[in-house]
């Protein structure tokens, strides 16, 4: 087998029908853009979920007038919970100072308030593996059993909903992925079938002078893989343009949501795009040549 000969044959084949090949590459690009866009959405939704989960903490607000000794006892008790990584005590004074700092120049609104209305609290951070809704549930159940704890604040409920949404997206993505994969392969397979028709004469001659079916097929396989890769390049271009557009218009909002940890076009998506593009192109041509040519 001579790779250069086959590559030359494939290139000649594509040159002979440039329009049909270009259209096929554009069609593949459209499918891949949809597929890639979905992949990017999924990757970033997962990142967001991980980021939010890693920031999960439970705040246990304490009742008024608890002795220092009792405080130490409660802190020790909480630290013994298997889910707990760190417990930080925020006194009433600390809470007020933090609020004032947060309000900055607006802190004067607190001037009219007599005394300190804010409760003391424990901020409880969870170990890895417990930073999820199940971990939150375990900790909050135990905290509710402590008399001195007045009220709990945590983000577990919405996190659970968010995780459920991601699961649905993943399931929908798998279904959409299958449809997109099939349509891409169909496009490539039909394109190759069309080029086969335009080159039937040549294939017939090659067959009659003793070319093996594989020898005849290899250039078409290469064409399929090249079409898929071209489609991936076009899809990448479209996605990069979309990335620029989104970042320009929604950059600040995304930064707020993801805390700067967003990559609209992560390398996993790019690798996926090119791998899938080439593989679909190749398989599309394999399908169209499955029963052709006969000996």
């Amino acid at each position: 087998m001579r790779p250069l000969y086959f590559i030359g044959k494939a290139a000649a084949g594509m040159r002979n029908a440039p329009l049909i090949n270009l259209l096929a590459a554009v069609n593949i690009a459209l499918s891949l853009t949809l597929f890639g866009g979905f992949l990017v959405g999924l990757i970033n939704a997962n990142r967001l979920a991980e980021r939010l989960e890693s920031r999960l903490e439970v705040v246990a607000y304490l009742k008024e007038r608890i002795s220092t000794a009792s405080l130490a006892g409660i802190e020790d008790e909480i630290k013994k919970f298997p889910e707990v990584r760190e417990v930080v005590y925020i006194s009433k004074e600390d809470a007020l100072a933090s609020l004032k700092k947060g309000l900055a120049e607006d802190s004067s609104i607190l001037d009219g308030i007599e005394g300190n209305p804010l409760p003391a609290s424990f901020v409880i951070r969870l170990r890895d593996g417990f930073q999820n809704s199940a971990g939150i549930k375990g900790v909050t159940a135990r905290l509710r059993g402590i008399d001195s704890v007045d009220e709990l604040q945590y983000g577990g409920q919405w996190l659970e909903k968010f995780s459920a949404i991601i699961s649905i997206i993943k399931f929908g993505g798998a279904a959409l992925g299958v449809i997109l994969i099939l349509s891409t392969m169909l496009i490539v397979s039909n394109t190759i079938r069309f080029t086969l028709q335009t080159r039937m004469e040549e294939i017939e001659v090659m067959r009659l002078v003793g070319a093996t079916p594989l020898f005849i097929r290899v250039p078409f396989f290469i064409e399929g893989a090249v079409l898929g890769t071209l489609g991936a390049i076009l899809a990448y271009g479209a996605m990069a343009a979309a990335k620029g557009f989104i970042e320009y218009n929604l950059g600040n909002e995304l930064k707020l949501l993801f805390g700067g940890d967003i990559d609209i076009l992560p390398y996993q998506a790019i690798i996926g795009l090119f791998t899938f593009g080439m593989a679909f192109g190749l398989f599309g041509s394999v399908i169209s040549l499955w029963r052709f040519p006969k000996a």
């Binding site: 001579r2 000969y5 090659m206 003793g210 093996t212 020898f215």
Partner: protein, 215 residues
Amino acid sequence: MIQLISVYKTYGQGITSLSNINLAIKKGEFVFITGASGSGKTTLLKLLYCEERPTSGQILINRQAVDSLKISEIPYLRRRIGVIFQDFKLLSERTIFDNVAIPLEVLGLPREEIVKRVQDVLKKVRLHHRMEEKVSSLSSGEQQKVAVGRAIINDPMILLVDEPTGSLDSGTGDEIMEILRSVNARGTTTVIATHNRFLIKDSRAVVLEKGRIVS
């Protein structure tokens, strides 16, 4: 070299193309298969290069049963058989060189070797000075010569020719026959299907009539 034993070929619902064909062709022979249109000449050639399979009977080439060859083995048989088709089967938008080179490309020969052998063969068919011309610009006789060049480029053991002079004037037809006889003179078994009995002269002729050998 070639043996057909009780060969039958039937198409579809009982249309018999060849019936009880028994034929032996020796190595190096120059044989005509002749008969009217539809007598089964082309079918007989097709059976030899495995484009068709016999309905029954046995076909041996060099003692190898080709009627039962596996599909994957057929290309290798075809590399040892040169075929000149009635409609030439040339790639009209390619050059003379490209057309003649195809069997050597299939064999995977190096480019220099291909160039040398194509030039040699084109000298034999007297087209070496025009090898970069497109086939579509050639006359029928010249196209026939290109077809001959492609068929003999690989020094085949058997040369099968279907109606070599069908669309040619007598001068060009004679030239083609002269080339075929010179190929045969170098030891290639040559089987020519033709309806033109004037070509036969003093060679062996097998006459087909309605799919049967009559003489």
